[in-house]
Amino acid sequence: MPPTVALTVARYRPEKESEPTFQTYEIPFRKDWVVLDALNHVKDTLDGSLSFRWSCRMGVCGSCGMKVNGTPKLTCATFLSDYLPGPIRIEPLDYFPVVRDLVVDLTDFVRKLRQVKPWIIRKEEKPPAQGEYLQTPSQLDTYKQFSMCINCMLCYSACPISGLEPSFIGPAAIALAQRYNMDSRDEGAAERLKVLSEHDGIWQCTFVGECTKVCPKHVDPAGAIQQYKLTAATQWVKSLLLPWGAR
């Protein structure tokens, strides 16, 4: 095993450069280190000016998504030992504006997420005294996979459509919409359909399938979108054949 490994890290310091550059750091190699440990080592001992986001270190918070050797990864779950002998290239996620070094801005995603109303919508709330909304394990099973999303944005970075069509609502937001659509307690599917069946919703997706491949939580956004296309098409045919029926 090599004593050290080279990290080639994208730097962008807007106050002094107009384009990102690369800087290489030689760090000690340890087989129990993930890329995030290496970045923290750089920040703590070699270069305090390096900026990146992280929080939980255990694949739950979704903050530390970056491109490692060209592939979007959670850096807290990406071991250095899988990239030997190096150098390991670390870049910010694609298609998001870069604020500084490895930090990208997610405002646009948050706006899109809010559009799909990712919360349980009831036509009428029942009073708490009547108890909770019950759900069977198999009802839970229909949407549980989509509820695992941690908003890490790897899927947006892997999706060429989200780069080519910035207005596309995108994989994670649609998967989360589907998470609520399939929840037996929810009654908001018709409201979400308005947003999701528009041009910037599901029909922008051409099923590249990369979002599912990079997802660290096995959410399968590509599956969610294709399944929703089927739902939306069925709804459309229904509204055509039964114009008098309620949607």
Binding site: Y12, P14, E15, E19, P20, G70, D94, Y95, P97, V98, V99, D105, T107, D108, R111, S138, D141, T142, P160, G163, L164, E165, P166, S167, E198, H199, D200, T206, F207, V208, G209, E210, T212, K213, D220, A222, G223, Q226, Q227, K229, L230
Partner: protein, 138 residues
């Protein structure tokens, strides 16, 4: 409707990379995707060819003979080989993707992907077998 993200105005120093025209060559899976999308052109060509065949058939034996002899020219033979490869690629890639779009639940459990893909291939074999039977009978 294409709305630019509204933060753009206020942060001129944020760096935005343009997507390269060659993005689809940067990863093998992207290239595979673009090839799969391209197969639609060849599928359309095959459909047009079939329509042409029907028209020729309707015009009588002479016209159909002319149609067949045209198909036998080297140009059409090469074209047909290319079309066949793309249509095959189209069928295989889409069959393999069906379990993503189709969720079949049996007794509350999701049917495994291989079962859905397998049923598609089985149906394909049965239909192909039926067509071959009709064509090769005489």
């Amino acid at each position: 409707m294409s709305v630019e993200p509204h933060y753009t105005l206020y942060h001129p120093r944020w760096y935005r990379r343009r997507v390269s025209v060659w993005w689809w060559l940067q990863k093998r899976s992207y290239t595979g995707f673009v090839l799969r999308e391209l197969t639609s052109v060849f599928v359309a060509f095959f459909a047009a060819l079939s329509l042409w065949q029907l028209v020729a058939l309707a015009r009588g034996p002479e016209a159909y003979g002319r149609f067949l002899s045209r198909l036998g020219t080297p140009l059409f033979l090469v074209l047909d080989a290319v079309v066949f490869l793309f249509v095959l690629f189209h069928a295989i890639t889409w069959f393999n993707l069906t379990p993503k779009a189709m969720v079949v639940r049996l007794r509350g459990k999701r049917a495994p992907d291989w079962a859905i893909v397998g049923l598609n291939y089985a149906a394909w074999l049965v239909v192909s077998g039926a067509v071959a039977f009709v064509l090769l009978r005489g």
